[in-house]
């Protein structure tokens, strides 16, 4: 009986892991258009990117202001592979990362090791 419960419980936990880490996703934050016509959002870097999903429109320049609030070297750089841009993020300094998406789609950004992740959804 115990064995059955433990195994059912284990399968349940595995199901939760698969669902939580792989299948679900958040709806994200829309970037704000500034006076200069740039879509802008502040992204706080601490153990992850907040917000980690940013919605923008295609064809307009995007500026993400990264504010790294930790000294953990894992997050010292953010890389937007699809747009060919990256930036070093010194702790406590707001660093703008700019690019102009032309095609709608989902573009991932990540730390250099690919452990911290976020995405830009271009519509």
């Amino acid at each position: 009986m115990n064995v059955l419960l433990v195994n059912l419980g284990g399968l349940g936990v595995i199901g939760l892991i698969v669902w939580y880490f792989w299948l679900s996703s958040s709806s994200g934050t829309a970037a704000v258009v500034t006076a200069g016509g740039v879509q802008e959002t502040k992204v706080i870097v601490k153990g992850g990117y907040s917000p980690d999903t940013i919605r923008v429109e295609a064809g307009r320049p995007v500026r993400l202001l990264f504010d790294r609030r930790e000294a953990d070297p894992c997050s010292e750089r953010v890389v937007f592979d699809a747009f060919g841009v990256s930036a070093e993020l010194p702790t406590g300094t707001e660093v703008p990362v700019e690019f102009t998406p032309t095609e709608p789609g989902e573009y991932e950004f990540a730390c250099q090791m690919g452990m911290l992740k976020g995405k830009v959804i271009v519509s």
Partner: protein, 815 residues
């Protein structure tokens, strides 16, 4: 949701305050500003809207991407209203598109088009604050400090955890060590109780970063190393504490074991590993730091006839700068007067000092060796060559090698997969394991969680790339991206553009052949004196050759040029004629004897002219585009590396073959029109070759872009460098070899790292799960797993750092 103070869009989980459910804040600063005067900001939303409309009208329509970003440090800010004041002052300055003040770091980021820094600092000063340009070093120092603090904290945590670990290990094994009360005795239970309390701060303080890191990742629906470690050490501690406090829950005596040692030791080791990794990783960007540190701090400029020392930021284009022996040349420029030898090795990798005379370009941050000179500043600030190199290296180090994209895919599934394996391990041991099954299940699960090392995988590529690209910069090889670095190691064919790449790109005198009464020096003196008045490039080569031999040239008394044929001049009462055979015949000079000589020279790729003196054949002078000194050795080395070397040129096949044979080219692509260069490259690619194109001119740009890897000579045009993937600062073919070797060395290093990291995880995890147990009764201790995990990522970084001692195979002879 919008921050009412600054108007910035903020997320739902941003800072809030009680009583205002609909507002969120981007920072503590905005929140406290709001708390002071909430009404102002709640009504102010409308004001902010109209304010931004005004700004929109004032701001010129931004041409995104062409603006420059300027960072200024601001002094004198006291409150949030200062932020708005400064931003307004800057935005209303013509040319400024946007300004953002960061109150916390006392900095402003200005987006502007063609606005000098002085104008910006003046605008800030008018608003009542002071501003100064912020250079890259400021960031670097702050970052280094933060890193150093983290390192010290981690070391303190390590020592604490290590000291606690010693008694905890001792009392954890009553059957192993002497003098410990028997299992089940009240005395031992009390000791274990003390251990539970003692390991609690180890877990919660020394291991606090595991929990904060795991939680931050969890919120973002991701998992990382911290998730695994936090889960592992918590499970070990919780099981032990439960067994101790509620022995009744565990019917079998054997189940009431504790492993507080796992919590303490794993925490100590992982924290130590993190500290070591921080140290090792700081070294990976050392090359860049060296470049940044090379920048001069001050310059001695001449203003109103006075020599004054000014900070480097104050130097403007057009300033006259004085440099004495042993001093650093502050910015890029052109020598006005004086002469010296300059050590440019830091930029070009070339160890032999370069001679500089009036008119020669000088590079900022290089070191003046022997003489004094004055030069005019031509490029300052972020336009200098060194600044551009720094920017390029930075960008390249942040780019990804294609191989990493595959690794990233694996890495993104890795941690949750390990968690699934851990849960499965528990289930299998609990179901099929020997008694006490629960105990085995817990230990193996913890071991699986602790041994898996996602960091080793993640670090493998970027750290080697950082070191490799930095190493390139040290050797005058600027690699633009990880893509270029990776592709360069697969190159099979190198295509060299002849002019300016294999050869100098400008003709010089090669032969003086005497065929009459006049001796060699006099023949050359007469020919050169005659050519002095001519503006033909071949003539310049002859004059240059005569100067080199120290001949005194005369001014021709008469001079007559027949375009396309030759020239005639009177020098020291001699009638000198120079030209082709037909011109000689026209002048009535019998030059038949020169015919075979001319053909021989043409076969060697040289351009020859017959010289007649006083109506008689006197000899032949020949000029040719000379081969760069190191071309032959470099091409030989390319062959050694197993590469096919092709040469692309617009020259006729005979000349091309002559040069090709001299330097050892395998394949000659002659008589190629400039617009067809890219086609030739794509033809080679069509043959299945991975092509590197080496060129320097504007007309090479399409071919550089078409090639798998374009290598541009740094001595060439900016267009070529823009199109190239790799720039060879020194402009020699040796750089091509160095670039390819470096790429091979870096990729080898990356492969070692990846193989190591994959092998470690694919072997370690099953062993930790206990696959050897049914066969050999072997089970891995979670303590060993912790040690292995802590040092696997350090090993990867250390291996990447080995690249720092890499040296190119062809080194210049030092004088």
């Amino acid at each position: 949701m919008r921050d009412p103070v600054c108007g910035m869009e903020v997320s739902e989980d941003s800072l809030t305050i009680d009583g205002y459910p609909d507002v969120g804040f981007c920072s503590d600063h905005c929140r406290s500003a709001f708390v002071d005067e909430p009404q102002k900001y709640l009504d102010g939303d409308v004001a902010a809207e109209s304010g931004s409309a005004v700004l929109e009208m004032e701001a010129p329509s931004p041409r995104f991407g062409e603006q420059e970003t300027i960072h200024l440090a601001i002094d004198g800010m006291t409150c949030s209203s200062c932020v708005t004041t400064i931003e307004r002052a800057l935005v209303s300055t013509p040319g400024v598109v946007d300004a953002r003040v960061n109150f916390a770091s006392e900095e402003v980021t200005v987006e502007a088009q063609d606005v000098p820094i002085e104008v910006l600092t003046a605008a800030v000063a008018d608003a009542g604050y002071s501003a100064r340009p912020l250079d890259d070093e400021d960031d670097g120092d702050a970052e280094a400090e933060a890193r150093e603090r983290l390192y010290r904290t981690l070391l303190q945590k390590f020592w604490f955890a290590a000291i606690v670990s010693l008694p905890v290990i001792y009392f954890s094994y009553p059957e192993l060590f002497p003098g410990i009360p028997a299992k089940g005795s009240t005395a031992l239970n009390l000791i274990w109780g003390a251990m539970a309390l003692l390991t609690l701060p180890v877990m919660l303080w020394a291991g606090s970063q595991f929990y904060t890191g795991a939680w931050a990742a969890f919120k973002h629906r991701s998992a990382n190393m911290y998730t695994l470690i936090a889960t592992g050490i918590t499970a070990a501690w919780t099981y032990s504490a439960t067994a101790l406090l509620f022995p009744g829950l565990f019917p079998e005596e054997r189940l009431r074991d504790v492993f507080f040692d796992v919590t303490a030791v794993v925490t100590a080791l992982v924290v130590l590993g993190m500290a070591l990794e921080i140290r090792a990783r700081a070294k990976t960007s050392e090359a860049l730091k060296k470049l940044i540190g090379m920048q001069a701090k001050t310059a001695r400029i001449v203003r109103d006839g006075q020599e004054i020392d000014v900070p480097i930021e104050d130097v403007v284009v057009g300033d006259t700068i004085v440099v004495r022996p042993g001093e650093k040349i502050p910015v890029d420029g052109q020598v006005l007067s004086g002469a010296s030898a300059v050590d440019e090795s830091m930029v070009t990798g070339e160890p032999i000092p370069s001679e500089k005379v009036t008119g020669d370009p000088v590079i900022g941050s290089t070191i003046n060796k022997t003489g004094s000179f004055r030069f005019e500043a031509t490029r300052v600030g972020k336009d200098t060559m060194l600044s551009q190199i720094i920017r390029m290296v930075r960008e390249a180090q942040g780019s990804k090698a294609p191989i990493q994209r595959t690794v990233d895919k694996v890495a993104s599934y890795f941690v949750p997969a390990v968690m699934i394996i851990a849960v499965s391990t528990f289930m299998v041991w609990y179901t099929f394991g020997p008694s006490p099954a629960l105990l085995y299940a817990v230990i193996t699960t913890v071991t699986v969680l602790v041994i898996a090392c996602p960091c080793a995988l993640g670090l493998a590529t970027p750290t080697s790339l950082m070191v490799g690209i930095g190493k390139g910069a040290e050797n005058g090889i600027l690699i633009k991206s990880g893509d270029a670095l990776e592709t360069a190691h697969r190159i099979t064919t190198v295509v060299l553009d002849k002019t300016g790449t294999v050869t100098m790109g400008q003709p010089s005198l090669t032969d003086v052949i005497v065929m009459g009464e006049v001796d060699e020096d006099k023949l050359l003196m007469l020919a050169a004196s005659a050519e002095r008045a001519s503006e033909h490039p071949l003539g310049e080569a002859i004059v240059g050759g005569a100067h080199q031999r120290g001949l005194n040239l005369r001014d021709p008394e008469t001079f007559l040029a027949t375009p396309g044929h030759g020239i005639s001049a009177t020098i020291d009462d001699h009638l000198v004629v120079l030209g082709n055979l037909k011109f000689m015949a026209d002048q009535g000079i019998g030059a038949g004897a020169a015919e075979s000589v001319l053909e021989g020279l043409a076969d060697e790729g040289k351009t020859a002219m017959v010289v007649g003196v006083d109506g008689e054949l006197a000899g032949v002078v020949a000029v040719a585009d000379t081969i760069k000194e190191d071309s032959v050795a470099a091409i030989q080395r390319m062959h050694d590396l197993g590469l096919e070397v092709a040469m692309l040129t617009g020259d006729n096949i005979r000349t091309a073959k002559a040069i090709g044979a001299k330097v050892g080219i395998d394949r000659i692509l002659a008589e190629v029109l400039p617009e067809d260069k890219a086609n030739e490259v794509s033809k080679l690619q069509g043959e299945g070759k991975v092509v590197a194109m080496v060129g320097d001119g504007i007309n090479d740009a399409p071919a550089l872009a078409q090639a798998d890897v374009g290598l541009a000579m740094g001595t060439g045009t900016d267009v070529a460098m823009e199109s190239g993937d790799i720039t060879l600062v020194k402009g020699s073919l040796t750089g091509v070899v160095t670039a390819i070797e470096l790429s091979q060395a870096t990729m080898r290093n990356i492969h070692q790292n990846l193989v190591g990291a994959f092998a470690y995880n694919t072997l370690g995890i099953p062993v930790a799960a206990g696959v050897f147990f049914p066969f050999f009764g072997l089970l891995l201790s979670p303590l060993l797993a912790g040690a292995a995990m802590a040092f696997s990522s350090v090993t990867v970084v250390t291996n990447a750092n080995r690249l720092r001692s890499w040296e190119p195979s062809i080194k210049e002879e030092t004088v």
